[in-house]
Amino acid sequence: MRMWRLIAIAGVLFLSISAVQAGTLDDVKARGYLIAGVNGSIFGFSMPDEKGVWRGLDVDTARAIAAAIFGDASKVKFVPLTAVQRLPALQSKEVDVLCRNTTHTLTRDTVNGLNFAHVNFYDGQGFMVHKKLGVKSAKELDGATVCVLPGTTTELNAADFFKKNNMKWKPVVIEQATELNKAFFSGRCDVLTSDTSQLAAHRAVAPNPDDYVILPEIISKEPLAPVVRHGDDQWFDIVNWTVMALIQAEEFGITSKNVDEMLKSQDPAIQRFLGVTPGLGSALGLDDKWAYNIIKQVGNYGEIFERNVGPKTPLGLPRGLNALWTQGGLMYAAPFR
């Protein structure tokens, strides 16, 4: 416990001086590259491939920020961080931005001194069971043994859910995600609970994927978003509008392949967006070509989604909540004008 108190004291000390600091953009430009904190071991979100190259939705979000600033998506360094490390690393300026499956919550937004940009992935906690249990709803899980990772909000959410519905449960707590899955698939527990994106990933590699169902109940909201420090509004704007540019590009139908043709578009909104009509980039303190650079080098949100977590990847996630608002999802960018 002493550790936590120290961390809290250190955090408070930091917050008291953070108000006077500003100019992350200048720091990043002077350094010549962006430093992004990532998870490092979640497939589809941030993980190195077998050649040590970073891949994933969070990683591509960070690359998009680099592309917006430098016009070069490769000018970013990734720092893998654990769940405990991630917030202090941001506060101590070890990283400029955190793209690490971090759920936007009130406490983090206020007490922890963080600002959350636009959500880049809407997740939610669910339950997966074996078909032979015949369970159709999570409300029927009274007395079940539940495999769950410790120390995350996952465990607390599950506890809340069972308590609220007056059901008993036996948590089987295992620290390592891979071992947890093994325990579930070998039948040590009836239920596996985690974010649905993770459940889908685990099911994809199960011995018999068709034997398992993800129950319809989503018991928590997990809007995952990039995070920056309090006290630098310009930097927050850049990160926020980078994510929105990815979404807006998909809405415009601009992809990495057709972005050059789109430069000739007669649509004034697209002209503003791509910097043919200048103004938006310089308002952010960036080059007017910023959105063009993002789309050209990283792609739009749809492309990033398909490449990392979409149906053709081992995760095989449907767009669901992450579809554009025009297609029944929640991805909605404010107007670019």
């Binding site: 497939f43 993980m47 190195p48 405990v84 685990h202 994809a204």
Partner: protein, 358 residues
């Protein structure tokens, strides 16, 4: 002695049946235990061999692995370069390989005690320079690689070899400090040793990686690897200090008095009389501390440094390879065993040689 008086060796020493009877079936209890053991081995060894070798896949893609009953060693072979070298640029990975070979060469060469002279120090100097150049780059046309990209086995070796070599002298100094007659030195040493021994290594690593940077002045960041390295050194040194203190206490008072009567001052007494004897006595516990420190380096996983344990775990969280953790951990166990076993072998050899001299 007459020829006829020659006594034949007892039958139990010459025939296999005799040996079996003497060693495995001498009493009822022993016979019972032998049979139980044989049964257990028969139940475990053949299935293991079948799993690990006969039914196993060595170089197949992951989909093929899911259709076989045996071990899927492909999880290692297909990802070996990431497991061993992590983020080091893919086309430059010969550099950490050569650096590791140089390190192994140096360690092997240093095993023989008759080579422990001034020349060895020069060899190490040259070797370490070569390793540093290979890892860091930036000169001789090698592209520069930052320390944040050092990962995998080179990182494990770096943390342990430098951790142990720096911790040992520091530990000896602390042990001497604790025995010192100067109150300030003594109190400082005691406070240091007890404080460090009072907390787990994990909390030191956390302090180094999370709290320490918050107190650094604006714009200064110290490499995560260096911070972990320092934490490991500080931690191991405290344990070595206590082990060495045990050795110092085993030296009879007469040795100190004899040295004093020869007119030796404190440094000469320690260097020529006390430490050579004390350090020799404590070789076994020292090596235990070093071996456990070597294994403890894997704790840097919790501050997200990609040592060889973490790179392997990363491979396991790729959905293609998820579930083959048995094979991966067996591979890791072998790696760590080789490291630990060679350390204990070297120390036993050293003990034997030092005892012969007596």
């Amino acid at each position: 002695m007459e020829k006829g008086a020659e006594v034949k060796p007892p039958i139990s020493d010459t025939t296999i049946a005799g040996w079996l009877k003497k060693n495995l079936f001498s009493t009822k209890l022993n016979s019972f235990l032998t049979i139980i053991t044989l049964y257990y081995l028969w139940k475990t060894i053949p299935p293991f061999v079948k799993w690990a070798f006969l039914d196993s896949a060595w170089f197949t893609p992951p989909q093929m692995c899911r259709n076989i009953d045996g071990a899927c060693w492909s999880v290692i072979t297909k990802n070996i370069r990431f497991i061993l070298f992590g983020f080091f640029p893919y086309d430059q990975q010969w550099r950490p390989l050569v650096a590791m070979l140089v390190l192994f060469g140096l360690l092997y060469y240093s095993k023989e005690r008759h080579r422990w002279n001034r020349r060895l120090i020069y060899y190490w100097g040259v070797g370490l320079t070569i390793m540093a150049i290979l890892m860091k780059g930036g000169i001789f046309g090698l592209t520069s690689v930052e320390s944040t990209k050092w990962s995998g086995l080179p990182l494990t070796l770096l943390l342990s070899v430098f951790g142990l070599t720096a911790a040992y002298p520091l530990g000896v100094i602390l042990a001497l400090g604790r025995q010192s007659k100067m109150p300030a030195v003594k109190v400082l040493s005691i406070v240091y040793i007890e404080l460090i021994r009072g907390v787990p290594l994990i909390s030191l690593l956390f302090m180094g990686s999370i709290i320490f940077p918050l107190f650094l002045p604006e714009g200064i960041t110290i490499s995560k690897i260096l911070r972990a390295q320092v934490a490991i050194i500080l931690f191991t040194a405290a344990y070595i200090a206590e082990v060495v203190r045990g050795g110092l206490q085993a030296i009879p008072k007469g040795q100190y008095e004899a040295a004093a009567s020869l007119g030796l001052n404190y440094y000469q007494t320690m260097r020529l009389v006390v430490l050579p004897q004390a350090l020799k006595i404590v070789i076994p516990p020292t090596v235990s501390v070093l071996i456990s420190a070597f294994k403890d380096t894997s704790l840097v996983v919790i501050i997200a440094l990609y040592d060889v344990l973490k790179t392997t775990q990363t491979v396991l969280s790729d959905p293609h390879w998820m579930g083959f953790s048995r094979e991966a951990y067996i591979f890791l166990a072998i790696l760590y065993f080789l490291g630990c076993f060679s350390m204990s072998q070297t120390s036993r050899k050293l003990e034997r040689e030092l005892n012969i001299e007596r």
